[in-house]
């Protein structure tokens, strides 16, 4: 009834919308960059889009921070915990974009990697992470605690897998010319997954525990 007077969206709801956009862009840039390394896409055909997406992510991060300060100044409600969380989570979302750029740079530097035997496993891991990134966007909307815990369990298995792969590459005596590329890719995927888990774990963790998600903690 008072829509014209009160505005389209509550201040924090608008900030949430921006954050959702950041997560969507995060998945897009990760998929695009991974395809440059693993899918045989010519990096030059996606360079502009990738960098534009990264700039958009960075711009939205700054916009969210600004709007959070304005929101805290204007709002008399006790929403500061949510605001502090968002201030921390936008950094995680922005880091996903940064790692995607690292993956893209790897694709540019190692054009022949799509013939490497490690590629198959990396594609599987990448697809799993991509699906999880899509799930993260939905979880951000629903704020479902159980699904968020399930997400983090799946994320943990991705992290373990990446660690094992890097470990085996370190110990390997094979003369694998792409060992460094593979190790770096596993490392980047692991970091993307870890930042995603930080974002999702905020659904069920208190603000002081952010970035310290651990299965053994009393968060269940």
């Amino acid at each position: 009834m008072f829509h014209w007077l009160l505005g389209d969206k509550q201040g924090l709801a608008r900030i949430f919308q921006h954050f959702g956009q950041m997560l969507e862009d995060g998945r897009h840039i990760f998929d695009a960059a991974s395809n440059a390394l693993l899918g045989g896409t010519d990096p030059e055909t996606i360079r502009d889009d990738l960098y534009a997406t990264d700039r958009r992510i960075n711009g939205v991060e700054q916009k969210i921070r600004r709007e959070l300060v304005v929101h805290l100044a204007v709002s008399e409600r006790t929403e500061f915990s949510v605001c502090l969380k968002l201030m921390s989570l936008v950094k995680d979302a922005e880091r996903i974009g940064d790692y995607a750029k690292n993956i893209f740079d790897l694709g540019v530097a190692v054009p022949g990697f799509n013939a490497d035997p490690a590629r198959e496993d990396l594609i599987q891991v990448k697809d799993q992470v991509s699906r999880l990134l899509a799930k993260m966007r939905n979880l951000h909307e629903s704020q479902d605690e159980e699904l968020a815990r399930a997400f983090c369990e799946q994320g943990e298995s991705v992290l373990r897998h990446c660690d094992e792969k890097v470990d085996s590459l370190l110990r390997s005596t094979d003369n694998d010319s792409h060992a460094v590329t593979s190790a770096l890719m596993y490392r980047y995927i692991k970091r993307v997954m870890a930042h995603s888990m930080n974002i999702v774990s905020s659904i069920f963790m208190s603000v002081d525990k952010l970035d310290y998600f651990d299965e053994s903690q009393e968060t269940r």
Binding site: V69, V70, L72, Q143, I203, M205
Partner: protein, 381 residues
């Protein structure tokens, strides 16, 4: 019992529905107008010889200016001071010539609030420098405007004449008695309270004092709750407005300042909102300045509202003087770049001084809001 940790990103639902807040707003506005009516009645009973207290026996315009500053600093609200001045003028107990500098003083006095807000970041130098500059740009602008416009008004009387002509225009040449449509509704409330007091056998000076105390309490309460209510009701709009002007300078910022201040009925709220934004570095002083000027213009709506409850057209005249003064100040210190930079550079310089040595902060607050108005009263009254 320890409280559960706050988890998730869920937002709390609004506590009071919008329709209830809008009904409350009308109730509070009515209460405010009734309070002005009560105050006018009280001043009338007290008569010209007594209708004064703080605002009487002020012979010189500089003393009147000082009274306006001190009165506002004491009550921490220019809305209360200007509403009281409107009631005094409306009841015929204060002449416009004396009221004009008082209104100007109220404009200066109200800026102490955001200066005090800026002290919140005093321990962090960079933040404090930005916050203090944002707060004092309002003070410096008002002092500069008064320094030029008060002498001009004394010699030409352009504000008084302009406001009188506008009043006659609004009253359609009605002249002596200004009949606002809301006045009749307000009178019913005023009469009810007055009759209630008279039934307690209060009369003369006692009745006037009781009316005055009730009126002052009602003005404080109503303005306070109008501000809180509107701030809660329009938080989203205010937030969106501020977000949209963060990176913009000029007219849009000024309009946002007017809109926010008219909404919350307090220029101090608007300017105090800008202080943390400047402190955080997300709003520049250059962009905060037009919003501040907009707040200065927006705050004149309180006096205009108050004038609806007064018996004579003089209430409206002084309310219009308030508007003309703030518009004149803005026209003087905004469109021309060189003049626009005076308050901005002054505030920056003052902020640097106050950051280097916090003693400057105390010296400034003491001189601007205590010593100068105090001397004004002592020397010119």
């Amino acid at each position: 019992m320890p409280s559960a940790p706050v988890t998730g990103l869920n937002m709390p639902p609004p506590r009071v529905p919008a329709w209830a807040r809008i009904i409350l707003l009308f109730g509070l506005l009515y209460g405010f107008l009734v309070a002005i009516g009560l105050m006018s009645s009280a001043f009338k009973i007290l008569g010209a010889g007594h209708a004064d207290g703080l605002f009487s026996g002020v012979a010189s315009p500089f003393a009147a200016l000082a009274v306006g500053i001190l009165g506002t600093v004491l009550v921490q609200s220019s809305s209360v001071t200007t509403a009281t001045i409107v009631a005094l003028c409306g009841s015929g107990q204060l002449d416009i010539a004396t009221a004009v500098p008082m209104i100007m003083g109220a404009n200066i006095g109200t800026t102490v609030t955001n200066t005090l807000v800026s002290i919140g970041s005093v321990r962090r130098s960079a933040e404090f420098r930005r916050a203090f500059a944002c707060a004092t740009v309002h003070d410096i602008f008002n002092y500069c405007a008064v320094a030029i416009l008060l002498p001009l008004e004394i010699y030409t009387g352009y504000m008084r004449r302009g406001a009188t002509e506008l009043t006659e225009l609004f009253a359609m040449g009605g002249g002596i008695k200004y009949e606002s449509p809301i006045k009749h509704v307000v009178k019913a409330g005023t009469k009810a309270i007055k009759s209630g007091l008279e039934s307690l056998n209060l009369e003369g000076g006692f009745l006037a004092t009781a009316l005055l105390l009730i009126a002052l309490a009602m003005i404080f309460l109503c303005l306070n709750y109008i501000t809180k209510n509107m701030r809660a009701l329009l938080a989203s709009r205010i937030e969106a407005g501020l977000n949209s002007v963060l990176n913009r300078s000029g007219l849009i910022g000024m309009l946002a300042g007017v809109a926010i201040t008219v909404s919350v009925q307090s220029s101090s709220i608007t300017t105090s909102l800008l202080v943390p934004l400047c402190a955080a570095g997300i709003l520049t002083l250059q962009n905060a300045y037009p919003i501040t000027l907009g707040a200065n213009i927006g705050t004149t709506v309180t006096a205009l509202l108050a004038s609806m409850a007064t018996d004579t057209s003089l209430g409206l005249t002084i309310a219009l003087v308030h508007l003309i003064f703030n518009l004149s100040g803005t026209l003087l210190f905004y469109p021309i770049r060189a003049l626009r930079q005076i308050p901005i550079r002054g505030a920056r310089r003052l902020a640097i001084l106050a950051t280097q040595n916090k003693l400057w902060l105390l010296i400034y607050v003491f001189i601007a809001f205590i010593l100068m108005p105090g001397l004004g009263i002592l020397l010119f009254d």
